[in-house]
């Protein structure tokens, strides 16, 4: 700030120096807060993108779970279908013996199908885990966002202090000038 004054007076010079000091301090503070704000915003974005990655991992887990469970169920269905083709409907003793074997294979196929549910649960748990990670990352992202907002508020406050100091200095200079003018006019 350079307001020219043809009547340099000690008080005005002192006021200017004080104002300059306050300007430097507030500029320094505003710079620090701006850096905090920038870092926090960067962290906020990074955490948001990390959450996105976890959501994509969750999607992969769901897809893998669907394929694994579905294919096991289809394999079980295939086993049951093959066993059904061997089923004897004649009612003879040999047929009953064959049907007992068929029942055994049918049971094996159904048990295999039961595995599909377990596999689905394993992948479902993995997906839930990834979602929990994503929520954690989002929470951290929000915290960084709040920190950035706080830094921005602090920066604005520092600027306000600087503005107030400038106004005060102007007022002092104005008064000083008016006083000198009055003295000169009387003389």
């Amino acid at each position: 700030m350079t307001i020219s004054n043809s009547n340099p007076v000690n008080a005005t010079v002192m006021a200017e120096q004080i104002q300059e000091l306050m300007h430097e301090l507030s500029t320094e503070l505003a710079k620090e807060e701006r850096e905090i704000n920038r870092d926090a915003r960067q962290h906020e974005l990074e955490q948001s993108l990390e959450a996105v990655e976890h959501m994509r991992d969750k999607a992969n887990a769901l897809e893998m779970g669907g394929y694994a469970s579905g294919l096991l169920t289809i394999a079980s269905a295939g086993g049951q279908a093959i066993a059904t083709t061997q089923f004897d409907t004649s009612g003879s003793h040999e047929g009953d013996a064959t049907n007992k074997k068929v029942d055994g294979w049918n049971g094996v196929a159904k048990t295999g199908g039961g595995l599909a549910n377990s596999v689905s649960q394993v992948y479902g748990a993995k997906a839930e885990n990834q979602e929990a990670f994503a929520q954690g990352a989002q929470a951290r992202s929000k915290a960084s966002g709040r920190q950035a907002d706080e830094a921005e508020t602090n920066r604005q406050q520092a600027n306000k202090v600087d503005d107030a100091a400038k106004e005060l200095y102007k007022e002092i200079a104005r008064n000083q000038h008016a006083g000198i003018m009055a003295i000169v006019a009387r003389q």
Binding site: R41, S48, L49, M55, A77, T89
Partner: protein
């Protein structure tokens, strides 16, 4: 700009015209007598250039925000569509499971009849109870409403009741199945097992499609989250730029006020000095 004072402290000769980015303000500085006036002109020019730059940045960021919002909207639509598809395939799996379960139990009942381990009355009671319990999924599988489910349930209960009553009247352990009925039951068991296997196959296919739809929905959700993250960043930068533009305007306004005030003070001093010297 290179300003050199000549003869008087307030008189200046401008060797080069001020570099103007906008060309909107090109004051003839040769005729300006005050340094404050030169500063005023410079300041105005700077203000114009900086404000133009800020406005261009604001427009660019506003465009980015609009694009990001568009992406968010598209991702939300995609997620909704995938949720609908996932729901459809989930229902499909549910129906296939129900059909498979009914067929499996029916095959079991038929098997019991075929081997003589179950009377016809017992088989009817069991089948009726099963139909009654599964009335709603059966109605849904055949496109029926709640009314249909109610009547299927009533019919199943009636069959179950009739079978139970017959069992009591004829004696619970009395074998009433004929050879023909046993053969029919064996075929029934065979069909039941086949239907169970087929339903399981459809169930597996439905599980795969459900998994794919859920995954695609989650991916769309992730895309939406990413677009929102970028939109938030662009929006904040836009807010900062708008705030900066306001601060810039205020700062220039203050500087102008200060320059005007200085000019006034210099003018007052000159007047007073002239008046004093005149005495």
């Amino acid at each position: 700009m290179n300003a050199t004072p000549v003869n008087s402290a307030s008189r200046v000769i401008i060797e080069e015209p001020p570099a103007s980015t906008s060309g909107a303000l090109t004051p003839d500085l040769v005729n300006i007598l005050d340094v404050t006036s030169i500063l005023f002109a410079m300041q105005s020019e700077q203000q114009h250039a900086q404000e133009a730059q800020h406005e261009a940045d604001i427009r660019a960021h506003a465009s980015e925000v609009r694009l990001a919002l568009d992406q968010v909207r598209r991702a939300a639509e995609e997620a909704r569509a995938q949720a609908d598809e996932s729901s459809f395939w989930g229902d499909f799996v549910s129906v296939a499971k129900t059909v498979g379960a009914v067929a499996s139990v029916a095959a079991g009942v038929a098997g019991g009849l075929a081997t003589g381990g179950l009377t016809v009355a017992g088989g009817l009671a069991l089948a009726g109870a099963l139909v009654s319990v599964c009335a709603t999924p059966i109605a849904e599988a055949f496109g029926g409403d709640e009314n249909a489910a109610f009547w299927i349930g009533i019919a199943g209960s009636a069959v179950s009741l009739g079978g139970g009553a017959a069992g009591i009247l004829l004696g619970g352990t009395k074998e009433i199945a004929t050879a023909g009925l046993r053969t029919a039951a064996r075929y029934g068991e065979w069909v039941g097992r086949g239907v169970d296997a087929g339903a399981k196959g459809f169930e597996g296919y439905g599980e795969i499609r459900t998994g794919i739809a859920k995954a695609d929905g989650t991916r769309a959700e992730a895309d939406g989250m990413e677009a929102r993250a970028h939109q938030r960043v662009s929006q904040r930068e836009l807010d900062t730029l708008i705030g900066g533009l306001k601060e810039l305007s205020q700062s220039f306004a203050r500087a102008k006020d200060a320059l005007i005030e200085s000019q006034q003070q210099i003018g007052q001093s000159h007047h007073l000095l002239i008046a004093t010297l005149g005495r």
